[in-house]
C-alpha cells in the first residue's frame, strides 16, 4: 500500500521527467505548427544534447555550463541541417507530408548510426549540475537536478511565451501555423520560418537532453523513448498547442511515476501508451480541448435550463 510520502515522491519525480517530455512535445508542436510536419527525428535532438555536452566536457575539460551552452547551438545547427538537407528539398518538390514524416523517421535512424560511428555505443552520464543532495524534506528525497529541470523548464516556457507573443519572428511563426498562404502574402518567408522552427525545436530537445542526462544516462538510442513520450505528451495536449504539450508531458510523467511505484518499472511504457489510448478514445482532439468542450457544453445546457 502506498503511503503519502511515496505518492509525493512520485509526483516530484514525475513532474521533473514530465517537464522533459513536455519540452520534447513543444519541439514537436513548433515544427508541426510551422509546417504540418511531425518530425520523428525530434528524439535524436534530446540524445545529441546529452552526447555533445558529455563529449565537450570529457574531451575539452570545460565546465558543464559552458559545455551545455556550446552544445545547444550545435544541436540547433543539426536541426537546421536536417531541415536543409532532408525536409526542404522534399518540401520544394511538393512531396506529401506523409513522405516527409517518413523521411524524418529515417533521419532519426541515420543520426543514431552516425552517433555510434563517431561517439561510440556506450552509455554515459553527466554529473548533477549542483553537487551534493538529495534535499531531504521529511521522508522526501529530492535531487538537486530536479530543481534545475523545473527551473530551466519554467524559464524556457517563459522565454517561449515571450518569443511567440512579443517578437515579430514568434508572431510570424504562429501566423504560419494558422494560415501559411496569408503569412506569405504579407511578406513572411515561410521557408525560413520552417528553418527557424527546426532550429528552435532542436535547441529545445538539446536542453531537455542536457537537463535529464544527470538523472539517468544518455546513449545513441535514448532518442527513441524520449521522442515517443514527447509525441504522446503533444497528443495528450492537443497536437500543436505548446502549453498543452507541456501540461500533457507533466501529466504523463506523473502518471508513469505512479505506475512504476504501484505496478513496477515494467509498466512504464504500458502506462504511457494506455494514457494515450484513453485520451484519444475519449478526447480525440486532446485532453484540454476535450475538457474545454465538455465544460462549454455543460455551461450551455445550464444556460438553457
Amino acid at each position: 500500500m502506498l503511503d503519502a510520502t511515496q505518492i509525493l515522491q512520485s509526483l516530484v519525480n514525475g513532474m521533473g521527467v514530465g517537464l522533459i517530455y513536455g519540452l520534447v512535445g513543444i519541439g514537436f508542436c513548433v515544427i508541426y505548427n510551422a509546417s504540418g510536419i511531425v518530425n520523428f527525428a525530434q528524439g535524436v535532438f534530446v540524445m545529441l544534447g546529452g552526447m555533445f555536452t558529455h563529449t565537450l566536457l570529457t574531451r575539452l575539460g570545460i565546465p558543464i555550463i559552458l559545455a551545455a551552452a556550446i552544445a545547444i547551438p550545435l544541436v540547433a545547427a543539426a536541426g537546421v541541417v536536417v531541415e536543409f538537407l532532408i525536409v526542404r528539398p522534399m518540401w520544394n518538390r511538393g512531396a506529401t507530408l506523409f513522405a516527409i514524416i517518413l523521411a524524418t523517421l529515417a533521419t532519426q535512424i541515420m543520426i543514431e548510426r552516425i552517433t555510434i560511428l563517431t561517439l561510440g555505443d556506450q552509455p554515459r552520464t553527466l554529473n548533477e549540475f549542483t553537487a551534493g543532495g538529495p534535499l531531504r524534506i521529511g521522508g522526501l528525497a529530492i535531487s538537486y537536478q530536479i530543481f534545475w529541470i523545473l527551473g530551466c523548464g519554467a524559464l524556457l516556457v517563459g522565454l517561449l511565451w515571450l518569443f511567440f507573443g512579443r517578437t515579430r519572428t514568434g508572431r510570424a511563426l504562429r501566423a504560419c501555423s494558422q494560415n501559411r498562404e496569408a503569412a506569405a502574402l504579407l511578406g513572411v518567408p515561410v521557408g525560413r520560418m520552417l528553418m527557424i522552427a527546426f532550429a528552435l525545436s532542436a535547441a529545445l530537445g538539446a536542453v531537455a537532453g542536457i537537463l535529464v542526462t544527470p538523472t539517468q544516462y544518455t546513449a545513441f538510442n535514448v532518442g527513441t523513448p524520449f521522442g515517443v513520450y514527447g509525441f504522446i505528451a503533444a497528443i495528450i495536449g492537443g497536437f500543436g498547442s505548446a502549453g498543452g504539450a507541456l501540461a500533457g508531458g507533466i501529466l504523463l510523467g506523473i502518471f508513469q511515476a505512479l505506475a512504476i511505484v504501484t505496478l513496477g518499472a515494467g509498466f512504464k511504457n504500458v502506462a504511457a501508451l494506455s494514457m494515450l489510448l484513453v485520451v484519444l478514445l475519449v478526447f480525440p482532439n486532446g485532453l484540454f480541448a476535450g475538457l474545454k468542450g465538455l465544460l462549454a457544453g455543460r455551461s450551455r445546457s445550464a444556460d438553457a435550463r
Binding site: R171, A175, E181, A184, L185, G187
Partner: protein, 250 residues
C-alpha cells in the same frame, strides 16, 4: 481576347522585358492538374488606378489572383514598377509592395487584432505609426484591439484583413471579393474605404461580384469569363446588368 490586345486609352510604348505600368501581367496562365483554369491573360494597373475584375462564378477570378501572387504555379510574365518580377516568390512580391487580401479574409484566427496587424507589418519598420493610420481608417479595430480575430463580426474581419494589408505598406493592393458574405451596408462601407485609399494614391486591383459597387469606384474593368479576359473597357461604359450579362454570355 487578352486584355493586352484590347487596351483602352493611350498605349504606352514598352519593350518585352519592361513595363511602364505600376503592375502588369502578361499572358499569365494557370492549371489545376490538367484543367487549364486560367488561359493566357494580360492586365495592368496604373499608378493610383483602381481596376476591377468582374465575372460570373467559376470564371477564374480567384485563380487569377492566386496566379498573380504566385500562390499557385503559373506561366507568363509579371512586371512591377517596370521590373520583371516573374520569378519572385509570394513573400518577395509582398516585400516589393504587391499585397493581396484573400477571399475569406485569411485572418490568423487564434491571434488578436493587434497581433494580426503586427504580422501585417512584419517586413516594415514604424509599426506604431502604421497602426495609428489603420485605426484612423477603421476606428472599430482600435476598440477591439485585444480581441481574438475569429470572434469579430464579418465586417470587422474584413476591416482587419484590409488594415493588416495596409500595415504591409502596399503599392498595389489586390482584393479578392472583399464584400463576400457581408451585409449590403457593410459591403458599401468597405468598398467606400477602398475608394478613399485609391484617392490617396494607392493602386488597387479589385475582384468583385457586386458589380454595381465596384463599377462606381473603378476606372477600368476587366471582364473574365471561362478563364479568359472577355473584355477590357472603361467602367463608365457599363451602364446596366444587361451590359454585363452580354459580356458574360459572349
Amino acid at each position: 481576347m487578352s486584355a493586352g490586345s484590347s487596351s483602352v486609352g493611350a498605349t504606352v510604348p514598352q519593350t518585352a522585358t519592361t513595363s511602364a505600368h505600376l503592375f502588369e501581367a502578361r499572358d499569365v496562365s494557370a492549371h489545376y492538374g490538367r484543367v487549364h483554369a486560367l488561359k493566357p491573360t494580360s492586365l495592368h494597373v496604373g499608378r493610383g488606378e483602381l481596376v476591377t475584375v468582374l465575372g460570373p462564378n467559376g470564371a477564374g477570378k480567384t485563380t487569377l489572383m492566386r496566379a498573380l501572387t504566385r500562390l499557385m504555379p503559373r506561366e507568363g510574365s509579371l512586371f512591377f514598377e517596370g521590373r520583371d518580377v516573374s520569378a519572385l516568390k509570394t513573400h518577395e512580391l509582398a516585400r516589393l509592395g504587391i499585397i493581396m487580401v484573400q477571399e475569406g479574409r485569411g485572418l490568423f484566427g487564434q491571434m488578436t487584432v493587434r497581433e494580426n496587424l503586427s504580422v501585417g507589418g512584419f517586413t516594415r519598420p514604424h509599426e506604431d505609426e502604421k497602426l495609428e493610420t489603420v485605426f484612423t481608417l477603421f476606428p472599430r479595430l482600435k476598440e477591439r484591439v485585444d480581441q481574438i480575430s475569429s470572434s469579430l463580426s464579418g465586417g470587422e474581419q474584413q476591416m482587419l484583413a484590409i488594415g493588416r494589408a495596409l500595415m504591409a505598406d502596399p503599392k498595389v493592393l489586390m482584393l479578392d471579393e472583399p464584400s463576400l458574405g457581408l451585409a449590403p451596408k457593410v459591403a458599401t462601407e468597405i468598398l467606400e474605404t477602398l475608394g478613399e485609399l485609391n484617392r490617396r494614391g494607392l493602386g488597387i486591383l479589385l475582384v468583385e461580384q457586386k458589380a454595381p459597387l465596384a463599377l462606381k469606384l473603378a476606372r477600368r474593368v476587366y471582364i473574365l469569363t471561362l478563364g479568359r479576359v472577355a473584355a477590357e473597357l472603361p467602367a463608365d461604359q457599363i451602364g446596366s446588368h444587361h451590359d454585363l450579362a452580354r459580356y458574360y454570355l459572349n
